[in-house]
């Protein structure tokens, strides 16, 4: 069957078996390996992507199910060398350690700030509660999303994108 969708703003399509999971399609057919698989049971959230802007777990969706829809993966967050406010927040607040949960966490954070630009800590914790992190204990992930919220609010007043050079993230 043909799976066709817009991934990070680009039309992509491929012939796949109907049973191919969206996570596998992104990783194998499109070589977008930033979407990770941690559990296969929709429990850990490492495979989270945005489907028309809403976080979904791509290990329990079929690629053919999302035909015609918009998918955003971690590879779609930065604009060229410029990291998104959420990415900058994770760097500045040490919101990542091994990095395996990070794409899912950042996508959930991005979606949250789209619908709620000024979330409380409780709202952030609830939003990311479908995603497991084994390294950070979540405190710095919360701070990272708060950092992004503040940056976005400041940018809304005086637009000036934060530039982060390619490479080391420094």
């Amino acid at each position: 069957m043909k799976a066709s969708m817009r991934v990070n703003g680009v039309e992509r399509s491929a012939d796949v078996e109907p049973r191919v999971l969206l996570a596998d399609f992104l990783r194998t057919n499109l070589a977008l390996t930033g979407t990770h698989v941690g559990c296969d049971t929709t429990s850990c959230g490492a495979c989270t992507v945005l489907l028309d802007g809403e976080p979904v777990k791509s290990c329990t969706l079929l690629a053919v199910q999302v035909s015609g829809r918009d998918i955003t993966t971690v590879e779609g967050l930065a604009q060229g060398a410029t990291l998104s406010p959420v990415q900058v927040g994770f760097h500045e607040e040490h919101g990542l350690q091994c990095g395996f949960c990070t794409p899912g966490m950042m996508l959930v954070g991005t979606a949250l700030l789209e619908r709620n630009p000024d979330p409380t800590e409780e709202q952030i914790r609830w939003a990311i509660s479908g995603n497991i992190c084994r390294c950070t204990g979540y405190m710095n992930i919360v701070k990272a999303i708060q950092h992004a919220a503040k940056a976005k609010q400041a940018a809304a007043k005086a637009p000036a994108p934060e530039a982060v050079a390619a490479g080391g993230g420094e």
Binding site: H91, C98, G99, F100, I128, M139
Partner: protein, 784 residues
């Protein structure tokens, strides 16, 4: 722009991590992200039974499935003498079962196919005929009369007993107990749990048929040791084996051992001549690899009439699963459990331990812990709180009264450990201060009078990490040193390679900071590489909080070596005597004439262009560091809980964590490590459990049964610190990766027990779930 771009990045600076960039962009390089030309995929068939004799394995239907290249059985492996492999604890372990299966999830056969989906499809077509045998699921079951013999293939093995091990002084301890005013006993089970890193284990084995070179990409915390083990197991010459650990999505001990999947994938690649990828799914990870704990412990603490501890006696039964494949130093059968006297000046102790085979997964690893230190710390800290409650002494005061005092260091413990340094009363004071302990105690009393169930838990742990001095610590004979190789390029930029392997700990930043401090090259100019055995110097790897104590020390030492050569070059450039030069981070200058100076960058260029007569070119070096002693991080954790009498639900209201890990190289990273450990400790205390039914079926085989803390239930942490530098580490650092997982479970559980103590409840085994608390309260007649 990053806030730390222009910082030098020396010791003590919280610079942002150098490794973040690729992870933030989804460009990490994890094992499953790797695709090689012609690569095949492997799926493993596992035993559904805990204990069964294999009568036959029929692979015909599987072999005929689309895309299948080969089906590997134990019989095929046996033809190549690879059906069994040696373990890290001098036992043997089945690679693919030939005679019996001995735990649920044991590897029986493997399918190699063109795609992952095809391999998994064909796996389901393998027919295995089993004769099911009775399963043994606990040490008590293992020693029961008439228990089935699990390791019947092992010559001379007549029962399920693996080892007996002792430490301390039996006679002296007995005498002390005979004189005790009070003996407090705690029997507690530290249940089986699992490190469960978010990335499972896996490998891509690529044996080149033309050259014979085996390149094995593997999620390994210890790639160099794995290379040597592979050479011993397969007979391949070691120079033809290259192990590469790519980015690792968390380890926590799970990725130390050699697992059968690695061996089968490598054998398959060798036989087929194409690369073979094997990636565990989550269930495979939880049921077959790297479990932790499973210690049944009984501790007796003797106390005199003045409230001083006089002796400790511990017996433990260890459930090691079907093969004794614990990853730990050879000398110590029960790991470093004999640190069990903890932070207390206990004059004598006697520890006995017995290990047993059971029909459960093998591969005991230290889940974010230095070889069973967690079990030891849990037992002593639970026992001390129980003793305080029983004696009616405040648990903080009881600890203060029995702490090893700062002036007693170096302190030799009753079981022979030489504690390098510590200031336990100070860490306790900082914690109690942060907590507002005196006021809080009054509040607890007042609320209890109103019928509320609330309590405070304390744990003042001492760890022993940084294995270790080579005379006592080895794995399969390999001394547990570690290494650092430093190359300074002509432009003054540097490449540092180590024998360790980061799994999220931030080595690329922390170790660059050591070079920045010691050699004056900014951390941003130091690239750090680990994990490729063809390029990095040999080392024993990253676990047991040993990277900073051992490889960090090696990094400091190699930097100092290069600094000494730099001094000679600077003297030549400045036309001064080398003893007339002084060092200031980043440059040598002539004493008294600070303007006459050469920067490390200028010196680096001269090392390749303008050398003193007779000096070898280059500015490179390597150091292998064998530590003179272990390091002993410590701290005090304090927890406040409320318990709902009606439901048994425990709510952690506060968690104060005061850690002393010596000198902190990057405080931001150190705090991140502690946050993570406190969270895993919280999970272990309240949620995480691998258990088995009577037939040996594993319960806890996916993330819906094996519960991990999310942001919703994880408490917020209040952090504090003291700094007592290690006297023998070149930087005074001690290692911190595991302190919080070691110390926190007892603090959480002590808080619950303190809350329940008015009802006469003295123990609930972890995980302390609502149903257990509810049942305990009901058993004491609390019916609300």
């Amino acid at each position: 722009m990053s806030s730390t771009m222009h910082m030098h990045g020396g010791i003590g600076e919280s610079i942002k991590r150098k490794e973040d960039g690729r992870f933030l962009r989804g460009k990490g390089n994890y094992i499953d992200d790797l695709t090689l030309p012609g690569m095949l995929h492997m799926a493993i068939l596992r035993s559904p039974h805990a204990h069964a004799r294999i009568k036959s394995v029929d692979t015909n239907a599987a072999a005929a499935k689309p895309g299948v290249i080969a089906v590997v059985t134990g019989e095929l492996m046996a033809q190549h003498k690879l059906a069994w492999m040696p373990t890290l604890s001098y036992d043997t372990q089945a690679v693919l079962a030939t005679d019996k299966v001995r735990f649920q999830g044991q590897e029986v056969a493997a399918v190699i196919a063109e795609t992952k989906y095809q391999a998994e499809d064909a796996r389901d077509s393998i027919e295995v005929d089993y004769e099911v045998l009775r399963a043994v699921i606990s040490p008590d079951g293992a020693k029961a009369e008439g228990a089935p013999l699990i390791r019947d293939e092992k010559e001379g093995q007549k029962d399920n007993h693996i080892y007996h091990w002792e430490s301390g002084d039996k006679a002296k301890t007995q005498a002390a107990f005979a004189k005790a005013a009070k003996v407090v006993r705690l029997h507690t089970f530290y249940p089986r749990c699992h490190p469960a890193p978010l990335e499972t284990c896996g490998c891509v084995a690529d044996v080149n048929p033309a050259t014979g070179k085996a390149t094995i990409y593997m999620t390994s915390q210890a790639p160099h040791a794995i290379r040597t083990v592979f050479a011993l197991v397969t007979g391949l010459p070691e120079q033809n084996i290259r192990v590469i650990s790519p980015d690792i999505g968390g380890g926590f001990g799970n990725k130390v051992p050699v697992y059968p999947g690695y061996v089968v994938a490598t054998a398959a690649s060798l036989l087929i001549g194409r690369p073979v990828k094997w990636i565990e799914d989550r269930t495979e990870n939880l049921i077959s690899t790297g479990f932790a704990r499973d210690y049944h412990m009984t501790g007796d603490l003797a106390v005199d009439d003045k409230g001083k501890m006089t002796a400790l006696r511990v017996h433990l039964d260890s459930d090691n699963g079907a093969f004794f494949s614990d990853a730990q130093p050879s000398k110590f059968k029960a790991g470093l459990f004999h640190i069990v006297t903890g932070s207390y000046d206990i004059p004598t102790a006697h520890i006995t331990a017995d290990g047993y085979y059971t029909n459960k997964a093998p591969g005991g690893v230290a889940y974010r812990c230095s070889f069973r230190v967690t079990e030891a710390s849990y037992l002593i800290e639970r026992l001390v709180t129980n003793a305080a409650l029983e004696l009616g002494i405040d648990q903080a005061e009881f600890r203060q009264k029995n702490f090893i005092q700062p002036e007693q260091f170096p302190y030799t413990s009753a079981t022979g450990w030489i504690y390098d340094s510590g200031d336990y009363p100070k860490a306790m004071d900082v914690a109690l201060d942060k907590l507002g302990y005196a006021e809080l105690k009054k509040d607890v009393e007042a609320r209890r009078k109103k019928g509320e169930v609330t309590g405070i838990g304390i744990a003042s742990f001492t760890e022993v990490v940084g294995a270790g001095h080579g005379a006592d610590f080895d794995i399969l004979g390999l001394r547990m040193f570690d290494s650092a190789e430093l190359r300074v390029h002509p432009t003054g930029k540097a490449l540092l390679r180590m024998g360790t392997k980061s799994q999220g700990q931030g080595h690329e930043t922390t170790f660059a900071q050591i070079v920045a401090e010691e050699l004056g090259i900014p951390a941003s100019d130091v690239a750090v590489e680990e994990g490729d055995t063809d390029t990095a110097p040999y080392g024993l790897g990253t676990y047991a909080s040993r990277s900073t104590p051992v490889a960090g020390a090696a990094t400091a030492m190699v930097s100092r070596k290069l600094r000494e050569k730099a001094r000679l070059i600077a003297a030549h450039l400045l036309e001064a005597a080398d003893e007339d030069l002084a060092w200031e981070r980043g440059k040598f200058y002539v004493k008294g004439s600070p303007d006459r100076a050469k920067t490390i960058q200028e010196i680096a260029f001269a090392a390749y262009s303008n050398l003193p007569e007779g000096m070898e070119a280059g500015l490179e070096g390597v150091h292998y560091y064998d530590p003179p002693n272990m390091t002993y991080p410590f701290g005090t954790y304090a927890v406040v809980v409320d318990v709902d009498k009606g439901t048994g639900q425990v709510k952690v209201k506060r968690m104060v964590a005061v850690d002393d890990c010596g000198v902190r190289i990057n405080p931001m990273i150190v705090e991140g490590q502690i946050h993570g450990g406190l969270t895993e400790g919280f999970g272990i205390a309240f949620m995480e459990l691998i258990t088995f039914d009577a037939d040996g079926n594993c319960i806890g085989s996916n993330f819906m049964d094996y519960l991990l803390p999310t942001a919703w239930e994880t408490p917020k942490f209040e952090m504090g610190e003291t700094v007592t530098p290690s006297p023998h580490h070149p930087l005074g650092a001690k290692g911190v990766g595991e302190s919080a997982t070691v110390g926190s479970p007892a603090a959480y559980v002590n808080a619950v027990i303190d809350a329940l103590s008015p009802y006469g409840i003295t123990n609930i085994d972890m995980p302390v779930t609502s149903d257990k608390v509810w049942a305990a309260l009901r058993s004491k007649g609390v019916m609300e």
